[in-house]
């Protein structure tokens, strides 16, 4: 399988005068079509890493490759940004226009896509994100989850191969978060590569692969089952495990050996059902 994103020994600091490295030698890759979740406590460098994937930030040392394009190649800047879409935390600060469909059209307009094609792309992106019914609405009248889906649609209209979600669900209520997760599932099914920076373990549990960051480095890597089996180690990085894994650990402490791969509510429910039958 081909690689979508590759970071090789990336080091970055915000202030070149200080020896404080926000990223201190990160090496990782994301395959095409993969869903990778990046976990980490505040200030661990996960958002900084995300901003390297579409050349918002450039590494001081090391290289970041987007489908073999070095993010430092200036001529390729807009190709890179078109390929890797980025969705941020606060939906309010990403929406430019006063009407939903015009906001979704913003990116293709910038790319100089012909008018008729903008229309098809915008409709397609809005349907994908599930906000087609709201296309004529004013963004400030929408709920948080709807606004964030407008932001996702705005990125989808570029037809990116990869979407980076930088804590895109952090400011949403549970309902909004669920709506956004449904959209992410749809994108996954459509073959879009997804990198999700998140605080929510439940979201990370659905990923293909989980990366854990601490102090500007990647400290753990593996499938969600592998990662969330190591409760103690996660706690040492100031991270929690999903509620289902917490339940698993609690039961185990009481002398009820539970399988390690229980990390989602469904898996926990199935296992308990079998047990109690």
């Amino acid at each position: 399988m081909e690689q979508m994103l590759r970071a090789q020994n990336v080091r970055f600091r915000y202030d070149p005068e200080q020896p404080v490295w926000a990223l201190d030698g990160v090496t990782m890759d994301v395959k095409k079509g993969e869903f990778v979740a990046v976990l980490g406590a505040n200030g661990c460098g996960k958002s900084t890493l995300a901003k390297h994937f579409n050349a918002i930030l450039l590494p001081e040392e090391g290289t970041v490759l987007v489908e073999d394009m070095d993010t430092r190649t200036e001529e390729k800047l807009y190709d890179i940004r078109q390929k890797v879409g980025m969705v941020f935390q606060n939906p309010d600060n990403q929406i430019v226009a006063t009407v939903v469909e015009e906001d979704v059209a913003f990116a293709p307009e910038n790319l100089g896509v012909p008018t008729e094609e903008i229309r098809t792309r915008v409709d397609e992106a809005m349907k994908m994100a599930g906000i087609y019914e709201k296309r004529k609405a004013a963004p400030h009248k929408l709920s948080g989850g709807q606004k964030q889906r407008v932001a996702i649609a705005g990125v989808l209209a570029m037809r990116p191969d990869c979407i980076v979600l930088d804590e895109a669900t952090a400011m949403l209520d549970p309902k909004g978060r669920r709506q956004v997760m449904q959209t992410i599932d749809k994108l996954r099914a459509a073959g879009v590569t997804i990198v999700s920076i998140t605080h929510y373990m439940e979201e990370a549990a659905r990923a293909d692969r989980v990366l854990v960051m601490s102090g500007g480095r990647i400290v753990m890597e593996g499938t969600p089952q592998e990662i969330f089996a190591q409760t103690g180690r996660l706690h040492s990085y100031h991270l929690d495990v999903p509620q289902a894994a917490e339940l698993r650990d609690a039961l185990e402490a009481e002398g009820l050996p539970a399988p390690k791969q229980i990390i989602t509510p469904d898996a926990a429910a199935d296992w308990l059902f079998e047990l109690l039958k």
């Binding site: 940004r81 879409g85 941020f88 430019v96 226009a97 006063t98 015009e102 059209a105 293709p108």
Partner: protein
């Protein structure tokens, strides 16, 4: 209280007035104001008001809205009316007291002037009622586009307008939140002398500005992520087209404005 502030109140609808090309509407509104003042006689002004009422009727904008848009300017009208009444020169005074003389000419002029101001506001309101702010911005950008040849940053102005319109409600919400937060900490915003009240605004404005700058920063980054690089090479989702209906509207405007203006040479010009 902040919720009452509405800028560019838009009254959506599907009439010919709504659907007419916004560029034409903008130019016609300016034309209307010129004609209103250039015709210079009561018949002309009466005709222009009739025209306006007809357009309002076609657009199905409720009368209540017209009155609402006129309410804030009543003091201005009253003021200009009184000034005109007192100082307009004439031949035989109708009433004289102290140093003032009121002439019949003054009365007609004052009334005419008041009616014109009303028509002016109602006319421009019709534009904002029937045209959404975004469409209006598009129209302005489109009309001013020739100026970009001489390096006037037309696209930049348009995007600033759009973003400003987009963020007004967001910042109004934010202001309310900050006000409530400060009230919860014991700030007194609605009581006290003017000086105290102005002082009480400082702890509201500072957080508001800081948050606005932070938002601007994030928005700029989000725009960069969506490949924004200025106006060059940009295409548009909605391209303004001057259709058959718009030509009809244009013809209608030319004829009606012409008739109103023509009254100038038929009836005596006042003032």
């Amino acid at each position: 209280m902040l919720r009452d502030i509405t800028i560019g109140q838009h009254f959506p609808g599907d009439s010919i007035v709504h659907n007419c090309d916004p560029r034409l509407k903008l130019v016609a509104t300016i034309g209307y104001v010129v004609v209103l003042y250039a015709c210079g006689n009561a018949v002309g002004v009466a005709l222009s008001i009739l025209l306006l009422l007809a357009l309002y009727a076609i657009a199905k904008v409720p009368v209540k809205l017209i009155l609402k848009s006129l309410k804030p300017i009543v003091p201005i009208i009253a003021f200009t009316g009184i000034i005109n009444l007192l100082f307009y020169p004439g031949e035989t005074p109708l009433v004289s007291f102290w140093i003032f003389n009121i002439y019949p000419e003054g009365i007609t002029f004052a009334v005419l002037m008041a009616v014109r101001i009303l028509a002016l506001i109602a006319g421009t309101s019709l534009l904002t009622y029937t045209t959404s702010p975004t469409v209006l911005t598009d129209a302005i950008e489109n009309l001013l586009r020739p100026l970009s040849k001489i390096h006037v940053p037309v696209h930049e102005f348009a995007i600033i307008m759009t973003i400003a319109l987009r963020f007004i409600p967001t910042l109004v919400d934010e202001t309310e939140k900050i006000m409530n937060a400060q009230k919860a900490r014991g700030a007194q915003l609605d009581t006290g002398k003017l000086g105290q009240r102005l002082k009480a605004l400082v702890p509201i404005l500072i957080p508001l500005f800081i948050s606005a700058f932070r938002r601007a920063d994030e928005l700029a980054m989000a725009m960069e992520c969506r490949c924004y690089r200025g106006g060059a090479g940009r295409t548009q989702l909605k391209v303004l087209k001057f259709g058959k209906n718009d030509f009809l509207c244009l013809g209608f405007c030319v004829v009606t404005f012409g008739i109103i203006l023509a009254t100038r040479w038929v009836f005596p010009v006042i003032g």
